[in-house]
């Protein structure tokens, strides 16, 4: 990759026998929709409202960093529909494994009021997950992804969905029993 002024270029395959052939870089398949940081909040409330639209079919939610005031807390999310928080019908499973144990911890959500992504929300926790079936007409939103609680360290695998047919256009983050601090970015994935 080569940057000249405000333009980016990359070395392309070339039939030229000598020298280099330059071509304009792609604008990229992932488009940043929203990035926000929050500090000591009970929930992110409306911060990530209206991020899911008909523009994309898949969205990447990148929790760059998140932590809770009480580090034994769970990280949870809830989908949003307009100004309403959807607080029912979350089903899914997160599997957690720590560096010093061969035992898996299973954190299930079964008809829950929120989806639990991980336990032990220590500083340095990061997760990224894909969200599908959102932003358009009524559907059953689903997600899957991975993460790391770096300070433990603990690996995280998670997946599940909202087993109710509804429109989802936003997402809210919170912990199970204290304030959270973090930064989250949400991207749309182009289909072409």
């Amino acid at each position: 990759l080569f940057r000249y002024g405000r333009s980016a270029f990359f070395v392309a395959d070339s039939a030229e026998t000598t020298g280099l052939k330059w071509a304009a870089a792609s604008s990229g398949a992932l488009t940043l929709i929203k990035r926000a940081s929050f500090s000591n909040v009970a929930t992110t409330t409306t911060t990530f409202d209206s991020v899911f639209t008909t523009t994309y079919k898949s969205y990447l939610v990148n929790i760059e960093t998140v932590s809770a005031a009480t580090t034994s807390d769970d990280l949870q999310f809830q989908f949003r529909n307009g100004t309403s928080t959807i607080a029912a019908d979350y089903y899914g499973l997160s599997t957690l494994s720590q560096h010093n144990s061969t035992t898996w911890t299973f954190q299930g959500s079964s008809g829950a009021t929120a989806m639990t992504l991980t336990q032990n929300l220590v500083a340095g926790t990061t997760l990224a997950f894909w969200v599908n079936n959102v932003g358009g007409s009524t559907s059953t939103a689903s997600f899957h992804g991975t993460g790391l609680a770096f300070n433990l360290p603990q690996n995280i695998q998670t997946g599940g969905g909202l087993y109710a047919t509804t429109t989802v256009d936003g997402i809210l983050f919170k912990s199970s029993s204290s304030n959270i601090t973090g930064t989250v970015s949400i991207y749309g994935l182009a289909t072409a």
């Binding site: 926000a36 940081s37 000591n40």
Partner: protein
Amino acid sequence: MTTLNEMIEIIRAENPNGLRAGNDEIGYIDLTADEYEAQIIQWAQGRLNTEARIAAAIQVEQAKKTAEAKLAALGITTDDLKALGL
């Protein structure tokens, strides 16, 4: 075992100046008194659930250690049990 009301008081004491929502970009707003109370109750239940989960995990670990001690007293190892397909 902490009761729900005791946990509500613990969490209320942790947040004597109220709670807020929002982000760095648009700013923060304080939760109303009703929203604060609802959030504290929800958090209290969440922390009780976590406490119960941790207590259950400790109990499982202790039961495992007790069983291993009993096997050791009989001269049996976990490898012996694996050999039996257990």
